[in-house]
């Protein structure tokens, strides 16, 4: 407060203002305003240009989201709880009924194999007969010699 009393307020009004200060200040203010406008214009131009960084990042996000969804869908499809194959579900719940069908299937297999075996036995008989006749013929040739 004491320092303020020492100040000569009357003299402050008498300080000299340099010439052209106001003009220079106004020019500077105009320059700053123009620069601000330019930066704003550049910012709006960059956001509207196709292939700009922001649009590219958006595309990458969309593609990655789609890929994640397909991956999840793929894993869910592989999850066995969610897969129901109607053809590989038991036809019968009662083991006794299933047993009858299993026995029928085994009997069919046995029958089929036995049919083949009969034909093989028949073929074996024929070959044995032919071998015996050949052997007998050779024996008679030996005796003749």
């Amino acid at each position: 407060m004491e320092r303020l009393r020492h100040l000569n307020l009357k003299k402050t009004g008498e300080t000299e203002i340099p010439k052209g200060l106001e003009e220079r200040l106004s020019m500077k203010i105009d320059q700053w305003a123009a620069e601000d406008e330019n930066t704003q214009a550049r910012h709006t131009d960059t956001t509207m240009q196709p292939g700009s960084r922001t649009i590219r990042f958006r595309l990458v996000r969309i593609i990655s989201a789609a890929a994640c969804i397909t991956l999840i869908a793929g894993f869910i499809s592989l999850w066995p709880e969610y897969r129901t194959n109607k053809a590989q579900q038991d036809t019968f719940d009662d083991p006794k009924l299933a047993r009858e069908e299993v026995l029928k299937a085994f009997q069919l297999m046995e029958y089929s194999l036995n049919v083949g075996r009969e034909h093989l036995e028949h073929a074996e008989e024929i070959t044995n007969k032919s071998n015996n006749t050949l052997y007998n013929a050779l024996e008679t040739l030996k005796t003749l010699q």
Partner: protein, 162 residues
């Protein structure tokens, strides 16, 4: 940008390849949806229950036809008038999947065919019993290769056409 897209596409392709390789099915599964044919499926779990089921005066099937290696049994039989459908589709599957013939016999009007196929860790044995009126296709799926099978049969004749 391109690398990121390529990475994502590669991951998607990998998922689809996994689903494709996992989607190996029995070619005879399609008969399950047929309305004119009789389709019976017995799974390994049910075969295990049947194996442990001991009924009086009934033949036991504990050590019968490699039952421990048996994965599933499918029995497809035609009804009256549907033999044509089963015949054409069954033979087309056998030709397409390259089943190898084991036995073909024809006796008293009954045609019997046995085909087999090794598929990685499993093998399929298909028995086709055919007459003029009806047809039965029996598919046995084993958890082993054909060379490891030792099918035992009895010497008595079994009449499966009753």
């Amino acid at each position: 940008m391109k690398r990121i897209i390529v990475k994502h596409l590669f991951s998607v392709l990998l998922v689809f390849i996994c689903t494709a390789t996992y989607a190996q099915k029995n070619p005879f599964d399609k008969f399950a949806d047929s309305e004119n044919l009789k389709y019976v499926y017995v799974s390994k779990q049910m075969i295990g229950l049947v194996k442990d089921l001991h009924l009086p005066n009934v033949v036991s099937i504990t050590n019968y036809h490699n039952i421990d290696e048996l994965c599933s049994i499918q029995i497809i039989s035609s009804g009256k008038g549907s033999i044509g459908e089963l015949k054409s589709e069954a033979w087309s599957i056998i030709k397409k999947e390259n089943f190898q013939p084991l036995l073909q016999a024809n006796s008293a009007g009954f045609k019997t065919h046995i085909y087999c196929k090794d598929d990685k860790k499993k093998c399929f044995v298909v028995i086709i019993d055919e007459t003029k009126v009806e047809m039965t296709v029996c598919v046995f799926t084993y958890d082993c290769q054909l060379k490891d099978l030792h099918i035992q049969t009895t010497t008595t004749k079994c009449n499966s056409h009753q």
